[in-house]
Amino acid sequence: MQVQSNVKLSGRQGIYLGLFVGGIFACCGLVSMLPALASRQWVGVLVGGVFFLVGMGFLGYAATAYYGRVRIGSPQLTISNTNLRVGETFNVNLLHTFQRDVQLEKILIQLLFRETATYQQGTDTRTVTHNDIIENYELPGGQYQAGQMIQQAYTMQIPPDGMHTVKVRRNQLQWFVRLEAGIPKLPDYVEEYELAVLPEMAEMGN
């Protein structure tokens, strides 16, 4: 069986976005607040303070998301084949050893079909997505101890009446295997692995 390396798409994106946006807002807030404070211009202090607090909010989100990822570690998801045909089955193996004690609400492994559409509304560019959960497997939540290992194998199938991957300007149809772990009071741990589904039908039995 061919083992493909995986392409990680999301998960850390929230952290990077939080750091980037939070950093910009916090810096802008400080830059405008400190001179205003020195010259006792209270309106400037107020506006700069609001920017600073918004920035700190984003940075706080990034920090909690990063902390959640540190608590869980790096689960290894192996997909037997990431170049698939419509109707083809493939295997997904989840292997993870917890480095720290962690309480989890749930662990989900999903096969997702995602439509992404980007459009112009006035001067704004907007993007909407719609996820179809084709297969959903859930591991029970609970307390996982440091050193505890989970190993699960799943067989998934691109539906025979499904669609292949399409990526054209402002319109995308994509397939993903999604791993999600819910940690109480922290942002969910999410990793997505894109599958390339070719415009070919799988032969019977594949």
Binding site: T118, V166, P199, M201
Partner: protein
Amino acid sequence: MATVALELTLRGGEEGAGYRRYAPGDLLQGSLIVYPDADVNCKHLYARLLWHTAGRGSQYLEKISEQDLFQGTLPGNMPRSFEFEFVLPHQPWSFEGHYVSVVWKVQAQVDVAWASDPKAEMGLVVRPSSSNQ
């Protein structure tokens, strides 16, 4: 000003509920009947195979093939028939989704000098049947 009526007919594939279904790679054949009510100076008479996205996103359109069926004068009150054929590509397949759909069409257009161009379109479905598995 002359008016031109166009009638598109597709052949091959399978008959569906109000559409014809073709497998990727199939040969699509069709005919176009043109009914001008007066003499028309036709710069080009095009038959095109194209697909586009539909739905929430900005439209993406791709012209796969174009045939110039006729150039010259179309005599008035004299229907004329033209044949065309296209080999369908292997992708993308027709699809109807929540935000994104993929729509295939055959389009006919009479390019008339200094006038709006009469057009006709006919949708089709490009998708392998499940029995092809």
